[in-house]
């Protein structure tokens, strides 16, 4: 079948492009991870050029493994990704099921709902951390201030005032602190990616078997058991796909972390690499290799999960 040859060859440009895109930078990263390579050094100017004579063996890897930030960064990366996945899938399924039936203004609600997905990640982060979550000037600060003012007013009341004076003053939370910055990142990314989950689930719900549902109603099935035994299994594949695509994007989350934490807060792996790369390229590259390994471990799990159903 010689007429099969050309069609098959059509994938070569894409394959070659991605191969070069992967291998050349990865090869260079691998090389940098084994040498001493810094951008500025007064004491060792010879380390500022990437030459083989600066060979350091596994020294960079040792340095990274010993740095206290490394394990924390891995923990954080996983915590952030898992929380976002969990929240977006739950919210996505609930919202998709909610808006799947026709109701007045369905089109407008749909437009409102999916808008966050189009917002630039950098804008998303700037908007949330400054204008919404800021403890003084943001909506959070304004809301907390308003509640406290109201409580002050209530305390002045006769009779009931005594009851309200037992209530504490509320204090706003700073989302730039180490403990809370991951929460801020999870909030903003969930806001942005829930619409994506809703889009995919909605598309899938449109192909749900209505006859099956009618039969279930005739058999006396309630809304919950219909959701549990018909809708949820129907959403299995789309859930797997949403999880996989989001994992790909969120493992390399960078702009949000950078804008929220500015280095004081929680770091994830890409951010730690960026921090090392300000001067120590060797250490940054070694961390990069660790990140590649982590990504591949996650990828194997995810791709198994989705890949099985892909070729059916």
């Amino acid at each position: 079948m010689s007429d099969r040859k050309l069609p098959r060859l059509l994938q070569t440009p894409a394959v070659l492009m991605l191969l070069v895109w992967m291998l050349i930078p990865l090869g260079m990263t691998l090389y940098f991870s084994f040498i001493r390579y810094v951008l500025n050094s007064l004491r060792h100017p010879e380390w500022t050029s990437p030459v083989p004579s600066n060979w350091r063996g596994f020294g960079n890897y040792e340095f990274v493994l010993k740095s206290k930030d490394f394990l924390l960064a891995i923990q954080n990366s996983l915590f952030i990704v898992c929380s976002i996945l969990f929240l977006t899938v739950i919210l996505g399924v609930l919202i998709a099921v909610l808006i799947n039936k026709t109701f007045p203004g369905q089109g407008i609600v749909r437009v409102l709902l999916i808008s966050p997905f189009f917002v630039m990640p950098a804008v998303n982060a700037v908007l949330w951390i400054n204008m919404i979550l800021d403890p003084v000037l943001g909506l959070q600060g304004i809301a907390v201030g308003g509640i406290n003012d109201m409580l002050d007013g209530l305390r002045e009341m006769p009779l009931l005032g005594g009851f309200f004076s037992l209530w504490p003053e509320f204090s706003p939370i700073s989302f730039r602190a180490t403990q809370t910055s991951s929460i801020a990142v999870i909030m903003m990314v969930t806001w942005q990616w829930t619409p994506f989950a809703v889009l995919i689930f909605m598309t899938s719900l449109q192909s749900e078997d209505m006859q099956q549902k009618e039969a279930a109603i005739l058999d006396g099935a309630g809304p919950w058991s219909m959701f549990r035994f018909l809708t949820l299994p129907h959403l299995g594949r789309p859930i797997a796909i949403v999880v996989m695509i989001q994992a790909i994007f969120h493992l390399s989350l960078y702009a949000e972390i950078e804008i929220v934490s500015r280095g004081n807060g929680n770091k994830n792996l890409p951010y730690l690499i960026g921090e090392f790369a300000n001067n120590n390229i060797g250490a940054a590259s070694a961390t990069g290799i660790f990140a590649v390994i982590l990504a591949n471990i996650v990828a194997i799990f995810l791709l198994r999960m989705v890949g099985k159903t892909l070729m059916e």
């Binding site: 990263t29 039936k101 700037v126 000037l137 899938s204 005739l218 390399s252 690499i273 590649v292 892909l310």
Partner: protein, 277 residues
């Protein structure tokens, strides 16, 4: 259908109300950003002017006067449009080959392509800058277009592949009988048939290109800098410039959000990733 459309109290009142509340909640941050962009920097941080204030266009006029918004917007359009076109140009033939002439390794190739997306950008940033400067492409449109194409190609091929796979092979084969060439087959038969999926793919890729902020910020200085670079440069000290910040942000995300609104139907229908059987 009549049976499914049972009316319950939740169905008539609860569902629409809840749906509207959630929709408005999700949209609120964007609304608040647009609203703030019409306040002066001083008014923007005063609680008493939260919703009622004297609107001003000052932030927008300052923006075009101070930072040459149009330069960045032009670059965003050029790079995102070209990168989307380039991605489809490479991606459609590849997805065609995989969907209609699969081999034993097709699945592995597809999975490998997706796994290249998992390569952390931060890990390869330095080598990339090194290479870009070495071949003299740093801060050029060509470089940004190529990079945007490469980072979106895996997702695009996957989307197209899952869409193409649903098309009956016989229809494509029929073209072969009539003596149509392979490229003719793609152009005359496949593209019209899979138009919905191709449009949705193009939209998604375009959105990702427009919003990309890692490479576009780090591989440019000014000439090829896009709107994400403009945002990066305006991330001013907290709180002081809410009005200005909102105006720049609104101008940067406005075009893409409006485009998304107009094309939401295509997205809803085409964004299946093979999840619909």
């Amino acid at each position: 259908m009549a049976i499914v459309a049972q009316t319950s109290r939740f169905g008539t009142y609860g569902r629409p109300t809840l749906a509207w509340v959630i929709g408005l909640l999700f949209f609120f941050p964007i609304f608040y950003m647009v609203l703030t962009s019409f306040k002066t920097d001083a008014d923007a941080v005063k609680p008493e002017f939260l919703f009622f204030f004297t609107p001003t266009l000052e932030n927008y006029t300052n923006m075009t006067a101070n930072y040459d918004y149009w330069h960045f917007a032009r670059n965003s359009v050029i790079t995102a449009v070209s990168a989307t076109a380039f991605t489809l140009f490479v991606g459609i033939p590849a997805a065609y080959a995989m969907a209609f002439n699969p081999t034993r390794r097709t699945k592995d190739i597809l999975m490998w392509m997706l796994s290249t997306k998992m390569l952390p950008a931060a890990a390869v940033l330095y080598p990339m800058i090194f290479l870009a400067k070495g071949i003299g492409l740093y801060d050029t449109h060509i470089l940004i277009i190529t990079v945007l194409c490469l980072i979106n190609l895996p997702i695009a091929i996957w989307m197209l592949f899952t869409y193409f796979k649903e098309i009956p092979k016989d229809i494509i084969e029929a073209g072969k009988m009539d003596g149509v060439s392979t490229f003719g087959e793609i152009k005359e038969i496949l593209v019209p048939l899979a138009w919905g999926g191709i449009a949705a793919t193009a939209l998604l890729v375009f959105i990702f290109c427009w919003n990309e902020a890692y490479w576009t910020v780090r591989l440019t200085t000014l000439d090829a800098a896009t709107l994400s670079k403009l945002i990066e440069g305006n991330r001013a000290p907290e709180g002081l410039f809410f009005g200005r910040l909102s105006a720049v942000s609104t101008a940067a995300v406005g075009p893409i959000v409006v485009l998304g609104w107009f094309c939401q139907k295509q997205l809803v229908q085409g964004l299946t990733f093979g999840a619909v059987k």
